[in-house]
């Protein structure tokens, strides 16, 4: 029994790893196409039909490029930093139920690697650890701009983790559990039972904080465009830089899953339509990340801190207090 469980878990891990690594690649294609459409350009068109094979071309380039380790860097830390980003992104996925459980060849499959009963806490914790990737990469690079970017990134992550945690506390109080499956079952009654209707404030706060957690554009201070260079990734080349990229895109997909499951009903009653609905919601949130990047400039660091500590955090605390009073 235990061996069967082990084999099943390993298969699940491999499948999730393969699907989301591939999705991260295809995500870059979508990002370029969507940005091009919104900025009246064509985007990638030359490689393959509609430029679809551009992903493969980029992959070949990244894998075969020389892996340069500059002279003055702290070697081991410099090498391990991109791995931390990618690995923690996928580790966080262990507690996310990607689809409702289904039967395959008479064997019931639960598409979640580990159904631990503290799912959401684990996911947020591991995503917090993911910050060590950019931080170590920047600090080990022996480059002033990388170091600046790492410091900025750490400040943004630590601040917005407060907003993430506080905003999600109100839904947790309503559901009374930290497991994402319990969140889903709480909203299984259909459209009207979604938590977003009873916790709209928490939903918006969590959504805003998700941009900071993944380091996407309005809060893209971690690789600041104003400095024309790629922040903590300046000294990186080849696949090590690619790992940072895979981590960022995988994180975007996973946080989209988390938002959909916590606030928008997840896969609902577990039917085929419900599963399709979950994928559509995830696709919408992923598209929204790209949409924001095309529509908004980066904000200044001091504006970002002002938004976090003087606007979002008080609202989140008030939201928790009101939720508590209503529940009593």
């Amino acid at each position: 029994m235990e061996t069967a469980y082990l084999i099943e878990t390993v298969i699940k891990i491999v499948v999730i790893l393969l699907i989301f690594s591939a999705l991260a690649g295809i995500g870059t294609y979508f990002e370029r196409k969507v940005l091009a459409f919104m900025q009246r350009r064509l985007g990638p068109v030359n490689v393959g039909p509609f430029g679809l094979l551009q992903v493969a071309a980029d992959g070949i380039k990244l894998f075969t490029k020389e892996d340069i380790i500059p002279t003055n860097v702290v070697g081991r830390i410099f090498k391990i930093a991109p791995v931390i980003t990618a690995a923690t992104a996928f580790m966080a996925a262990a507690a996310i139920p990607f689809l409702p459980s289904f039967t395959l060849f008479g064997y019931e499959v639960h598409p979640i690697v580990a159904d631990i009963n503290i799912g959401i806490l684990y996911i947020l914790g591991i995503m917090g650890v993911g910050l060590y990737g950019p931080l170590l990469g920047g600090m080990a690079s022996a480059n002033k701009f990388s170091l600046l970017s790492a410091a900025r990134g750490a400040a943004v992550f630590i601040s917005y983790e407060v907003v993430t945690g506080l905003s999600i506390l109100a839904p947790i109080m309503m559901v009374g559990s930290l497991s994402l499956i319990d969140f889903n079952d709480y909203q299984a009654g259909g459209f009207t039972t979604w938590i977003v209707w009873s916790q709209p404030v928490a939903f918006i706060l969590f959504w805003i904080a998700a941009f900071a957690e993944t380091g996407r554009t309005p809060f893209h201070l971690i690789a600041n465009d104003h400095e024309i260079i790629d922040g903590f990734g300046t000294e990186y080349s080849g696949m090590r830089w690619g790992l940072f990229f895979i981590g960022e895109y995988a994180n975007m997909f996973f946080i989209s899953f988390v938002i959909s499951i916590i606030f928008l009903g997840g896969y609902g009653d577990g039917s085929f339509l419900g599963a399709l609905g979950l994928l559509l919601k995830v696709a919408f949130f992923f598209f929204f990340f790209l949409w924001t990047r095309a529509a908004w400039p980066d904000v200044r660091p001091d504006q970002l801190m002002w938004l976090c500590w003087k606007v979002l955090m008080p609202i989140a605390v008030i939201n928790i207090v009101i939720t508590g009073i209503v529940m009593m």
Binding site: E2, L6, N72, V73, V74, R76, I77, I80, I116, N117, I118, L121, Y122, L124, G125, I126, G128, V129, L131, Y132, L135, L136, M139, A140, A142, L147, A151, A154, I158, E161, S177, L178, R300, D302
Partner: protein
Amino acid sequence: MFEAIAFYLFAFLTISMFYIAVTTSQALYALSALAAGMIFISAFFFILGADFLGAVQIVVYSGAVMALYAFGMMFFDTTREIKEKQGNKAIVLGLSIISAILVVAIVAAPIVGNNIEALYPMVEGAGNTQEVGMVLFTKYLVPFEVAAVMLLVAMIAGIVLAGKKMDLSLTLMSEAEIMMMKEEDKNKKALS
């Protein structure tokens, strides 16, 4: 069997990480090894079935070590090795081994001495998180509240220490205003 494998794997990893943290002279290695060791410790909580404490260990210590990185950034050039003043190595080694043994003995003595039993047995049907909450808000309510007050005191002290000129923002001031402020500061120093 898998539990035993996991335990020995993570025990080895944790000890080797803390060994690196103590022995290396490179600040970045030490900090990263410390963070990794803290996160590996959470594996023991997961093996014991205390999922909540495991996740809290990850959340709390990854954030705490992050603050150490900030200090590292301020005080050292983290890409260079640090020359430490080293006294008598034998004395340091001997004292630390003795104190480690003493700590283990002090903690283990009551367990061996009078067969400690769990006074608050597991509540049927309550999850891991609920159980921590029940104990925290019944038996350990007073220490919990005292800890909360201490954190509040620390926070207010931090605000007071860091709060000089907090109402001014250099990015929002014009060049002339900043120059004027500098002049005033100079005058104050000259007067005092």
